[in-house]
Symmetry: C2
Subunit: 456 residues, 2 copies
Amino acid sequence: MKEMPYKTYLEESEMPKAWYNVRADMKKKPAPLLNPKTLKPITKEELSSVFCEKLAEQEIDEDNAWFDIPDAVLDFYKMYRPAPLVRARFLEKALGTPAKIFYKFEGNNTSGSHKLNSAIAQLYYAKEQGLKGVTTETGAGQWGTAVSMAGAFFGLDTEVFMVKCSYEQKPFRREVMRTYGAKVTASPSMTTEIGRNINEKYPGTSGSLGCAISEAVEAAASKEGYRYVLGSVLNQVLLHQSIIGLETQSALKKLGVKADVIIGCAGGGSNLGGLISPFMGEKLRGEADYRFIAVEPASCPSLTRGTYAYDFCDTGCICPLQKMYTLGSSFIPSASHSGGLRYHGMSSILSELYDQKLMEAVSVTQTEVFEAATLFARTEGTLPAPESSHAIRIAIKEALRCKEQNSPETIVFGLTGTGYFDMYAYQAFHDGRMQDYIPTDEELAEPIKRLPVING
Amino acid sequence: MKEMPYKTYLEESEMPKAWYNVRADMKKKPAPLLNPKTLKPITKEELSSVFCEKLAEQEIDEDNAWFDIPDAVLDFYKMYRPAPLVRARFLEKALGTPAKIFYKFEGNNTSGSHKLNSAIAQLYYAKEQGLKGVTTETGAGQWGTAVSMAGAFFGLDTEVFMVKCSYEQKPFRREVMRTYGAKVTASPSMTTEIGRNINEKYPGTSGSLGCAISEAVEAAASKEGYRYVLGSVLNQVLLHQSIIGLETQSALKKLGVKADVIIGCAGGGSNLGGLISPFMGEKLRGEADYRFIAVEPASCPSLTRGTYAYDFCDTGCICPLQKMYTLGSSFIPSASHSGGLRYHGMSSILSELYDQKLMEAVSVTQTEVFEAATLFARTEGTLPAPESSHAIRIAIKEALRCKEQNSPETIVFGLTGTGYFDMYAYQAFHDGRMQDYIPTDEELAEPIKRLPVING
């Protein structure tokens, strides 16, 4: 019998040619986006003032299951994809588990994560529409880097609002973006009205994704020929990221292996949604069954402790409203929380799937996360991103459950990226300075009180 | 006709099972290492007080062409190899060249470079010999990271002396090594006699590889059950790194492409030697012809401006002597020089091949290097290591020559790694603060006067 390889790469010719839209297979669809002014479902035309037209179309379309990947995007994908599906043999051995553990590794590109999959798509459509440039926000920095790379490739201006705590902890991320020609500003900044307001209201704030989004949207609206791009939460992003799941599906098929549990970290949902979409499609169509587990930080627990309601996608309340599991758009996670996964809400697709009990969710503290990251690095070689390490933690937990139950299940998780720009956080962990922060019920109650009242 | 893929991956089953020793095919062999005390050719037994026995054997063997790769090393290789051979289509397009440009990319692992190929081999033999741990030096940090990763994998202690300027510019590299459990010390340190002497003689020195080597050798010798490991220069290292060239050779064969020019950056010679060895073998056996180009920094030009003579491998003069192109073991490159390639000498194998005019050499300034790095990042996506970018600069130059001559040649270069921990240098380049340093003839003359007198 042929031994199973460590890494399964598809051939370039086997790469998916179309993205998969899981909404097409959902009987109960996610609630529509609402126009923040009228509180009515937003139209494609209204959405096109913020996003490129093609992307507005993808955002709203809940019927078409497949969208062709443009050739130029496919060409760019081939510079760093297909991404390998890796058998974590050495981690299995260290745990002594009968489970097979696989991870889909998306970190082999300079953005350091899966974010490039959607950045290149979004900037392609911006280029096609004849725009001059785009604005965006970035938390941990991967998305900003991805947009900068795509901008350099297509010759588009890019302006990145980087969450202040990350800007300060990761000066080198900024230099990577500058290498690709991007302009990088710490958020909240004094260059936008919303930034100035937030700085005044919360002096010394370390920023949040929701706030950086508001600034980027304002900056795009204030310039001719610019649009805003966003790296997570949106339906269009989950669509582009479905390439992760589609490749994983093909690779497992090639190996003749059926997954039992599929695990991903969840901030806004871009990776998790992309990874699970095609498998969720099988489940929705009754073709196969899987357990899906979303792993979020205990410091920003939107699925496990949030409310399923309409909320603003941004702190400045200028973006469309979305029905989602949310901590409230005024929630700002503790500065002691490292890395990404700082978003107050969750993709509306994932929120709806979770609400329908098609997916589980769990939260973990950051010291648990860095313990798992260290074990992974020492056994499997790759130093993982803190975000990805949330998934590692739960993959390990599931593998140990399999050991206890003597159950040879197959666990697949998304290793979204590498931690090379997160050594500030690793250092805090090594030095024993890392703190876990779990918000109290009282702290969580406050922003929820400020949720907008819809149809009320 | 089937289109040529962007990236060619071998199957894991197609990976080389043995390393190739180019010395076996050289008619005139490199001069032997000399014992620093007796100035006589060093024996395997004498060498075994510094290196593991198996490695001492490999160091001295100039007859056997092939060495089996142990299974445990092969298993580890499979975690991050085979490395892709990438067609640089977008760079070709940007240059408008008729040349085909390929690069062998060795950066897809946490050490960020090819260094892991030899680290895992050296630590395997250390483990086999029942040692407790190893000591080593690191310049840019890739080698130290590689040794730390291999140490974690085999459960061996690792102590890394890191060249001070790099230690200060790259605090995060240190944290990566700590993640794998290594102890990291800035060199010259006050923990060794040699370090104390050098600190006294050159107060405020930013350190050098030669000096860090001395400290690591002293530290290994002072502890029971420890040996020293080195990431470049040595014959054993070129042997392990031949996997780069062997994979490249197989991938080109798969594509039906014959290389015309093969280019690599050269500090101590580990990458260049590994990349070209199997091709040089073909040339030495009269089976094919190639141009080989070594690219070195203008600030540390051992091949292009050095002397071919016996010299110490380290500043402290405690290591064996080696005949090589050298700037003198007391040469310390300017602190304004970024990244690796700071070694005063060159692999004796490469030195001999260069002396026999089987290989060319050229030097480039660091602003030229960062210009090439930026163009590469923006067209090909990956942000390259400064070291690798030396090779990129000359690959671009050769591609432009092909354009001028309308000559559709095939250029292959080694992209040894990524620049994610070199953003300090990129920042200096972005801010216009980067300085080029080319030593004067007078500056180079001084250390040469101090070369040891052999048989004199």
